[in-house]
Amino acid sequence: MEKRVVFRHAWLPYLLLLPQLAITLVFFIWPASQALYQSVLRQDPFGLRTSFVGLENFARLFRDPLYLDSFQVTIVFSLAVTALSMGLALLLAVMADRVIKGATGYKTLLIWPYAVAPAVAGVLWWFIFNPTIGILTYGLAILGYDWNHALDGGDALTLVIIASAWKQISYNFLFFLAGLQAIPKSLIEAAAIDGAGPARRFWTIVFPLLSPTTFFLLVVNVVYAFFDTFGVIHATTSGGPGQATTILVYKVFSDGFIGLNLGSSAAQSVVLMFIVIALTVVQFRYVERRVQY
């Protein structure tokens, strides 16, 4: 049987592809090329004087030890946010999956934080951990820990990781829960009859069957940690103290939008773009092999 679709007219496949191509062009290729173009220019904020500087913006970046530090902060931050939000979401999803009474209520409550804007989430955690008026700071002080994210880089990084991960847990939870409910109960029951305990059932049956969901969420969460967290950081620590919470995308924002240094900001976006392309390639070539659909 012929499985391939055969088009009678040569133009039809192109026509069908057109909307997708147009969207890619307008929302990806065009801005990306603008960033590439800006990254070789030096321009005053008003755009009155522009000069071509070649790769100087890039050279300047990689000579800057603080930019290189920012890579390290980004790696620690993204790994922590991804691990924390996915781990907790999976735990909550497994627990919610077993609840019978009042399940809808629990689910609604767990999904709620996703509706909160990043900046609002940031302000929320800023209050909870405020060195002077924060409730958790007060609790920590009783336990003998003097929390001060305005001064201590480790505290600040912990704060933005918690705030960013908290926001993403709901999203992950939704997908994990849907994934869990799609697993046939008969498989698990059969394993139970064979004498497998809950932990063994989870690791040998449930978790492998969840792998497509897990892989999808891994990609989404890494992208989230890289790009969507600057609102949280802006509202809580503004990248400080020192540059302890300045992740790459926050540096793009602060140099471009606050410092009005468009050339450097564009160069940083280009670097970021290549990092994400590389990450995606790695994920799809190496991590996806372990996924069973």
């Binding site: 004087r49 400080g240 020192g242 606050i258 009005l260």
Partner: protein
Amino acid sequence: MSHHSKLLAGAAAVALLAGAGVAQAQTEVQWWHAMGGALGEKTNAIAEGFNASQSEFKVTAVYRGNYTETMTAAIAAFRAGEQPHIVQVFEVGTATMMAAEGAIYPVYELMADAGVDWNPDDYLDSVVGYYTTPDGDMLSMPFNSSTPVMYYNKEVFEAAGLDPESPPTTWPELEEAARTIISSGAATCGFTTGWQSWVQLENFGAWHNVPFATESNGFEGLGTELAFNSDLHVAHIGAMQAWSEEGVFKYGGRRSDSAPLFYTRECAMYMNSSAAYAGVTANAEFEFGVAKLPYWPDASGAPQNTIIGGATLWVLRGRDAEEYEGVAAFFNYLAKPEVQAQWHQDTGYLPITNSAWELSREQGFYEENPGTDTSIEQMTLNDPTQNSKGLRLGSFVQIRDIINEELERIWAGDVTAQEGLDTAVRRGNELLRQFEADNS
């Protein structure tokens, strides 16, 4: 389309036409500002006051976020050809705006072109010095200027056995008072500060008559280099570092994030803008006093005078001539003593003209609100020198961030005061050289 929705559409069209009719009768002037909350209401009231005073022009005041966001939004709008007529820009953006010849319409030119009779000499020297060309021509319209002062908790002073009516005037006195307060248990921290670069380095330089940067703090050219790693600066920041370890000084954040430390009585003293007066009044449930900033008595030039912060109104080019007449008329209204005095008394910002200051005195405002004249006394204590006129540095928004980062490293004890300030100077100078290359 049902009958009902047809009716609605018709009504909408009529409303639109009516709206267009009003817009045609009055020339509209867009004013973007960064005054939120209570300050925003006062700002809008000024625009409304102007609109009510005449019928030819209509000023629309639009809140565009904080200072940085407002400036960025205006610049982006300019690049898109959609700029407002007037935009409020904070003092650190001054050099960026000045460098944008062709994009800005200098106020002295605007007033001359519109033929408006006004008196630029009425403005306080220490305010306009910031915003004039070397020849004394005013580039932007002074609006909200403030200077840092020291708030202190009178109740804590009393509980510690100190005289609540004589706050410390020098840093050694302040240290002694702080130690007495802490050891007596009246409060757990001596003092905190808002806007650390502005208060503890920029104003510190002016107050002690030492340069913050070369070339008269940038007023004489783009070749300026930072100089806030002088012996006096290092000694001061070094002392603060030691105090930070002991709890005499507590760091609370980059902008005004440290305010709760004062409001909750944790810190007995708090240095921040004179415009924080309204906030302190609203939040401090104790008696407080306003005092001048302390100085180091062994520094020969101290106390000199402090410099301003806050913002001015810049006019952007590219609109119709008759609209600029509206801008000039509005500025003329804004300069009126009554308008200025009201604004000053409502907000804690400085009275920026001599006549507004006099009017406030005549009205008895300072007697009723003791401490509100501290800022102006401090600013006008001496004639400004080249170290105390102000600062005009390119990329200053970013330089302040660098200073914040390095100061945080110092407070945390990661580097010494000398190392931290040297690094900040080196990093800041790189930005200044880039700004020089971009603008020459």
